[in-house]
């Protein structure tokens, strides 16, 4: 510790260390409290009354809550697949072609990223109420269609941004070489460009999945009474009463997010290691 920190080594100076510590406490304390309280054997107070798994058992007994989680995961999975396909197509089209109105299309695709959620939410509400009513009473996965459509509409531009950033580092001569060797345009795209994009596809998929799972406002306006998603369900639970069940299921979801993030980071690190070796 006697070593003097370098001039620019701000991370090792104590005022900044203290500041960082406080900021990280601010960011994480509420989440830590949430996790701890999910094991607290008490319904009302925040005082620690002993360890219990009861709230987790109650979560799984609450069929509505479990169903909402299944709905959310299904919607997220479907939305991810479609968003990944559309986002990649959009990115490749904008990277590959020169066409009139390109800046316009480019700008338009970034609109869903920046438009306030509440505006998009009411747009979806009106659209599915008046313009294209989603038929009610469809069998289960189809009944989620309207929400999936809305989620794809705001997720695929994010995927396109991530994929496009990766395309910048692609050496076009590789694709030309493949074509010189007799590959068709599609073959060259599939065998040369897509493999190069793999890390971006992974990152884009993760982003789309999280965005879908996270979304409350837009879903709140799109969901019907029989298509309740996890955030919408939690919202109504929080609105009416604070029950430790919410702590328990939130903890499970937090764990899931952390796991997902670390898997993605590991895969990314491995992809980079492959590249350098």
């Amino acid at each position: 510790m006697s070593e003097k920190p370098g001039l620019l080594d701000y991370a090792r100076r104590w005022p900044l260390r203290l500041w960082m510590g406080l900021v990280f406490i601010f960011l994480y304390a509420p989440l830590v409290v949430l996790v701890v309280m999910s094991f607290n054997d008490s319904r009302r107070t925040t005082k620690w009354q002993g360890f219990t798994f009861d709230w987790y058992r109650k979560v799984f007994e609450d069929t509505e809550l479990v169903q909402s989680l299944i709905n959310s995961l299904t919607i997220a999975a479907l939305s991810t697949v479609i968003s990944l396909a559309l986002g990649t197509l959009a990115a490749i089209a904008l990277w590959r072609f020169r066409f009139p109105g390109k800046p316009l299309v480019d700008g338009a695709f970034s609109l869903p990223i920046v438009v306030p959620e509440i505006c998009m939410g009411v747009a979806m509400l009106i659209f599915f109420a008046r313009v294209m009513p989603w038929p009610s009473g469809l069998p289960w996965p189809l009944s989620l269609g309207a929400i999936v459509i809305a989620h794809v509409a705001f997720s695929f531009p994010f995927v396109a941004v991530v994929v496009r950033a990766r395309l910048h580092s692609f050496d076009r001569s590789q694709e030309e070489a493949a074509r010189d060797l007799g590959a068709s345009d599609w073959r060259a795209l599939w065998d040369v460009v897509i493999p190069h994009l793999r890390p971006a596809l992974l990152a884009g998929a993760l982003l789309a999945f999280t965005l879908s799972l996270d979304d409350f406002v837009i879903t709140f306006f799109t969901a019907g009474p029989d298509t309740v998603t996890f955030p919408v369900k939690v919202y109504s639970m929080v609105r009416f009463s604070v029950t430790p069940k919410v702590n328990a299921i939130s903890t499970l979801l937090l764990l899931f997010t952390v796991l997902l993030t670390f898997i993605a980071l590991r895969l990314q690190a491995r992809a980079e290691a492959e590249k350098t070796s």
């Binding site: 925040t46 959009a90 990277w95 505006c119 747009a123």
Partner: protein, 290 residues
């Protein structure tokens, strides 16, 4: 590499196959719904559920009444204050991260981003457990100062709670662009400043801030825009007088059932947002003159 972009006329099928699906989805499920909202903002309620697009400006006129103008002003003020706090809290964090050794840097970045990945509703809810009357902060303070006649602070259902929530949720939005701006700085300029005898604060004030200026303004807008449209924090943490514009819009569509007026309010928010975006892209272009 001469451009490398193909003209679309040389491969029309391929072009259509690539751009068609995303563009179609965008037009049908984003542009059309938005256009319908825009049309509704010029509409009138006819009967219980019918809306006639009559081309009236009455909804916008109503949106400019003092009551709604006040809420709009309050939303702008909330967003400005939350952005300022995020900037003050986030700048040292971004500075420390951008100058940290590579290994630590990765971990610090993950540390900032992880809350960003976790569910917004859960994060807002987590604050309730801390702030409510019998919440952790009050119980903690009671335990510590109860003997001195401590009275519970009311930390929930007021503007203070909304501000805490807005800053808590949007802090990563500020730190990440700030980090990106600071990470691009030319280190030798900072070293030159130190060599010439300037202290740390002086170097930050005279060298870092001007150089990172456009990046900082970009971070400000990237925080300000989402805060302005916030719905959940005022709804769950706020009291009756901490409604923001998004809450008023929601009320028009759910309880008040006045869609044309709600549409007009939604588009007021849209105009403000688009103005912010335009400003941001203008600055971005100035930052990287080509």
């Amino acid at each position: 590499m001469s451009g490398g972009e193909t003209d679309w006329k040389r491969a029309k099928t391929g072009f259509a196959a690539l751009l068609g699906p995303p563009l179609g989805w965008f037009l049908l499920f984003f542009a059309v719904p938005m256009a319908v909202v825009w049309a509704y903002s010029f509409g009138t309620n006819v009967g219980i559920s019918d809306i006639e697009i009559s081309g009236t400006f009455a909804n916008y006129a109503r949106a400019l009444e003092p009551l709604y103008l006040g809420i709009m002003g309050k939303s702008l003020a909330f967003a400005a204050l939350a952005t300022l706090i995020c900037l003050i809290v986030g700048f040292p964090v971004a500075l420390a991260i951008s100058f940290a050794p590579p290994n630590l840097k990765t971990w610090l970045l993950i540390g900032v981003m992880l809350p960003f990945w976790t569910n917004l509703l859960i994060r807002t809810y987590a604050l309730i457990a801390l702030l409510r009357d019998e919440g952790l902060i009050n119980s903690g303070l009671e335990l510590a100062f109860g003997w001195a006649g401590f009275e519970r602070l009311s930390l929930m259902n007021n503007n203070f709670a909304v501000m805490v929530g807005l800053v808590y949720v949007h802090l990563p939005f500020t730190v990440l662009p700030l980090y990106a701006a600071l990470d691009r700085l030319d280190r030798s300029l900072l070293e030159a400043s130190f060599d010439l005898g300037a202290g740390h604060l002086r170097t930050i004030w005279n060298i870092v801030l001007p150089l990172a200026g456009p990046g900082i303004i970009s971070a400000v807008l990237l925080t300000f825009i989402p805060v302005l449209g916030s719905y959940l924090q005022p709804d769950l943490l706020g009291g009756p007088d901490s409604q923001m514009i998004a809450n008023v819009i929601e009320r028009q569509f759910k309880r008040a059932n006045d869609w044309p007026f709600g549409a007009a309010l939604a588009f007021m928010l849209m105009y403000l947002t688009l103005f912010g975006i335009a400003l941001q892209s203008l600055l971005k272009r100035r930052e990287r003159p080509e």
